[in-house]
Symmetry: C2
């Protein structure tokens, strides 16, 4: 680990360390020839600047932390790729942590990242998270934080969200246009505001078309395949079979679809399915699943941009909420009319 330092170059060339430093950060006055001399020598000696020392001096780590609830499924990985793209370009590193949808781990991750002096945080909550005291403290401590997707409404930070209401509305309307009547909604975890918005969209689409939705059509579920399995089994046991299902998550839709298929139901003739979030999977199940696509990469990029702006602006920062739009990919899981 005998790293070449700025001092070694200085000694070799009989110059002061400050001169060497100047050669690398061209904002200072230095004669072009000496600069070239230094740069050549540096390359020759295999010098690499030590970011740790620089960070210490500048009181920042150039690290950004990201806290996500899970890794499985393509949604969060794609968000990360988007964020990484922007951050790397600006010289930031991304520290990724995941909580397995567990509140305790989530808090630990935040503390860990805080201890390691990240310059900012990008967070999407676990669906266990109810107690938000910790996040209140975090935000008021002054550390730049951006929430995305699963946000806390009352927290005074910038957020990147999806227009869940609108797209749940469209997705439901699509089923209504296809002439499905008894439409069930597999809702997301109750404490997430995105779940509430999707429910509202589902209800208001019915209202617009003067259709009735009893509360019993809205079934609290989660986001996993197993949740879909479970709910579908219950429907079959209770002999309460819908003719269409709009799920708050693709995986839930896929899980339920699998169970109904196994029990001999024809899809989409007897039951139609629409999912939400466009996992890459949706295209590949049988039949392909109609789903609301979120701009995952764009969510990541936007969150990263907001965060960087806030970091470089310390002090004069106005929290803003950016709402992104998506699209509805219609596939055969919900096509009754045409085939």
């Amino acid at each position: 680990m005998k790293h070449v330092t700025i001092k070694d170059i200085a000694k070799e060339l009989n110059l002061a360390v400050s001169t060497i430093s100047r050669a690398f950060n061209d904002k200072y006055d230095i004669r072009p020839e000496t600069k070239q001399l230094i740069l050549n020598k540096a390359r020759e000696m295999g010098y690499r600047p030590n970011p740790i020392a620089r960070n210490l001096l500048q009181q920042r780590s150039m690290n950004i932390g990201i806290v996500i609830p899970e890794f499985i499924g393509s949604f969060f990985p794609e968000v990360i790729i988007g964020a990484q793209e922007v951050l790397f370009k600006e010289g930031y590193q991304l520290l990724i942590t995941q909580s397995n949808e567990c509140y305790k781990t989530e808090i630990e991750n935040v503390k860990l990242l805080e201890r390691n002096m990240v310059d900012g945080l990008i967070i999407s909550l676990s669906h266990q998270t109810k107690n938000i005291e910790c996040f209140k403290e975090l935000v008021s401590s002054g550390l730049p934080v951006i929430f995305f997707n699963r946000v806390i409404d009352i927290l005074n930070t910038s957020k990147v969200v999806f227009d869940d209401y609108k797209w749940a509305f469209f997705a439901t309307e699509h089923l209504i246009y296809q002439n499905y009547k008894k439409i069930f909604h597999l809702a997301g975890p109750a404490n997430l505001s995105l779940a509430k918005n999707r429910i509202r969209g589902f209800q208001n689409a019915h209202k617009k078309h003067r259709l009735d939705v009893p509360d019993s059509h809205i079934i609290p579920s989660g986001f996993t395949i197993e949740d879909g399995d479970r709910v579908a089994m219950e429907m079959i046991e209770n002999k309460n079979i819908p003719d269409a299902i709009f799920a708050a998550g693709d995986l839930t839709a896929i899980g339920a679809m699998k169970v109904f298929k196994r029990h001999g139901y024809k899809i989409p003739e007897e039951i139609a399915f629409v999912g939400f979030s466009e996992q890459t999977l949706a295209r590949h199940v049988d039949p392909p699943l109609t789903s609301v696509a979120q701009p995952t990469f764009e969510i990541g990029r936007t969150a990263a941009k907001l965060l960087i702006a806030q970091i470089e602006n310390q002090g004069v920062h106005i929290p803003q909420t950016i709402t992104l739009s998506g699209k509805l990919n219609i596939r055969s899981s919900s096509m009754k009319l045409t085939k």
Copy 2:
């Protein structure tokens, strides 16, 4: 960003900074009462040690870099979770980068992590990677590097691999026992040694049972669903239909299965499928896919442990290759005999 430092505490208590430092690293001599006094005051003032300063002094970043080819699918995320578990416990941070199976991005990621003074690297290659000069240099520079899963045989580093040969053999044998005769293998990218090992296992299982495998039964593919789609379409066009398929990756198997199902083939009656790597998906497709499960979390944990050992041991390190074992999860996609 007015962080409380060790100096502030020293001033507040009229003590020397060295004393404060001692209070936190208990290996030094300090009177229990003063230690308590300092610890209390520190908590009161909200002091948090600055790891950047510590790292600068100790010439290490406590960061580990991981370079993986992709994020989609559950394999690599699970490896990461395993590695994270071990690393965090030892105080290391994990910087995650992904290359999208692109050689150029992969190299850039490595350089980026190197610049940022990671103490070690955990790498699984993209399947584009053929030129290994860069990795040779990396290893001979002295930076501790562990490869896993997709490794370079001739490189003198520690590696964590899976017994691809053995499990490909078992998987093939399973199909043979089920009395399938015309078994095709969808092989992985040709330059990965794991792909070669799986091919060998496939061939030798046939040899053991005195069955013939023409080379035309081994079809070069990739690891994605699209690869499976494509290969299956070609088989159908050429009217060259196997009665069983053993794929080097679950996703390839799933893609191919989807196509054959759409064309009316009964699974497993007409065509059986066995995959490799046990993506979480395998359990949820229709019919559920028989697959070789790799100990993903354990791979991550093992790689992390090897790396830490090497880092703390600098100098006297003997490269070792650890081969982990798995199991074959038999599901209905390959069950001809019993149902």
